[in-house]
Amino acid sequence: MNFLRKTLDKYKPLFEKGAKYEKFAPAFNGIDTLMFVPNHTTHKGAHIRDAVDLKRIMITVVLALVPTMLFGVWNIGYQNMGEGHTFMELFGYGAIRFFPMLAVSYGVGLGLEFLFAILRGHEVNEGYLVTGMLIPLIMPIDLPLWMLAVAVVFAVVIGKEAFGGTGMNILNPALVARAFAFFAYAPNMSGDKVWVADSAIDGVSGETVLGTLAANNPINSSVFDMFMGYIPGSVGETSVLMILIGLALLLFTGVANWRIVLSSVMGAAVMGLIFNALALNSLMTFPWWQHLLVGGFAFGMVFMATDPVSASQTNKGKWIYGFLIGFLAIMIRVFNGAYPEGVMMAILLMNVFAPTIDHYVIAANIKRRKKRLEKIKIA
């Protein structure tokens, strides 16, 4: 650590104002503050500072993602090779497939972040640490790396930097990447060939549970498999158990908002129950509580819907926002045959509506308080 500090200090003068590499100061400071707690002091205004800054929040989310990522890596191997292999064989196979995706996502995304920071002269934000990890976790494992890179470029430039960078984005950047890849390279993002690594070569085909449902075929995974995540799907989305571990960490540290998670589960349950009651076709008869276990629902609700930037800001707004995400996600799954999975669309749609929800929640609050004030005046 001492060595790192000394090295950084040695090069610091080069990046100070008026020095040779002044332009690249944001890049240097970005590395510096990533390694060490920034040592600047407050100059004016409130002097109370919390140890939890943007960086700590982002690192917490990354930590919460680790269990589901590790499981995902193992599951890649399991889906491809099946039983009869040691844990290390399965994990090693998955690692060879998954870590290049992670490297591309971080490499391209952070590169762009640094580029924009230098061009615009602001500091590098840590927001991409989470986004960069989320993106490979919500992609099918067979997605070519260059497509992933294009999707990352689109997500960072159009999804985030066009709106002003971390904290200003309307949509969740990771989902922007997925939506872009989904519409641009549809054959590589859906169907029964993409969820299992190298399925084109090995002839293994693995359809997601929702894809099987949409195609009107019987499901052959048990509820236990769905919960544990021994099913084909995007890398990070399959294991509900691992996602719940992540959720526990996020709720314990207060990074994720329990209102959104709870209300989205309620929304999905309500929609699922309505469909179960109607039961007009085989898709509608799929038990409502199993909807919560399959596809990207758990992952989306825990890691995407709770994104503090793109979600509603008011507490009441969060209830409405979460509820509608759950409600719409199940509705899209059942009604739209072209999109077996509705979570991505539901979250993106509600991201767009989140500021509107906030606006009306605040307007209602002002109205109520005005009424109260008038009552007091009369009395």
Partner: protein
């Protein structure tokens, strides 16, 4: 004559031509005529034809209205303008049907919809009604070209990235059913970007053009 005669291409007149291409572009600055920019930019060829048609209509409608400007009663000027524009659009439509039938079929209803293109009415109202014929012609050409330029840029990227072609030529190589039979970029595993063919991407492309233009042209940034 007391007044000094202005040169045909004086500085002021040249500005009428060049302004709409950059500082006052109808699409990227005034944000007019977006619908047709989304609808007919999937391929380059219809976009070019559309650009030529709009240049034709803006130029001649500007000229005719400018010639008539002292004769048109103010209260019915919109109707008169519409008549002139409609007549010109029908002319364009008939010419396309006669000499470029397949392009006319591709453009379908959007040729007729040139009538409703806000750029044309806007130029008539804002410019031709108050200016002399020569200036109006220049203004018409400038605005038509400003619109057309953006259209062609969008169509270039949409056709190139969306279907890997330019004007119908397979510039990125041929995509066959299998990787081995493909040539060019497709042999390396390249795939067309299907999103480019959908209209949201046209809107995003317009957005990117506006972004690039504003970061290059500081005059356009609102305080």
């Amino acid at each position: 004559m007391a007044e000094e005669k202005e040169a045909l291409f004086s500085k002021q007149n040249r500005k009428l031509l060049s302004d709409p291409l950059n500082d006052n572009n109808p699409i990227s600055v005034q944000v007019l005529g977006i619908c047709s920019a989304l609808a007919i930019t999937v391929q380059l060829k219809p976009a070019i034809v559309m650009a030529i048609a709009v240049v034709f209509v803006t130029t001649f409608s500007n000229l005719i209205i400018s010639l008539l400007r002292n004769l048109i009663p103010g209260r019915i000027r919109i109707i008169v303008q519409l008549m002139v524009v409609a007549a010109l659009v029908i002319l364009v439509d008939q010419i396309l049907k006669a000499y470029a039938y397949d392009v006319s079929k591709e453009l379908s209803v959007f040729v007729g919809l040139i009538i409703t293109n806000c750029i044309i009415m806007g130029r008539l109202e804002a410019f031709a009604l108050a200016n002399k014929p020569w200036k109006s012609i220049l203004d018409g050409i400038g605005n038509g070209a400003g619109y057309g330029a953006i259209l062609i840029v969008i169509a270039f990227f949409r056709e190139l990235l969306g279907s890997g072609k330019l004007l119908g030529f397979e510039v990125l190589g041929h995509k066959a059913k299998t990787l081995a039979e493909s040539t060019g970029l497709y042999a390396m595993g390249y795939e067309n970007n299907g999103f480019m063919l959908l209209s949201p991407m046209a809107l995003i492309t317009v957005g990117i053009i506006i972004w690039v233009q504003r970061s290059r042209n500081r005059k356009l940034i609102e305080a």
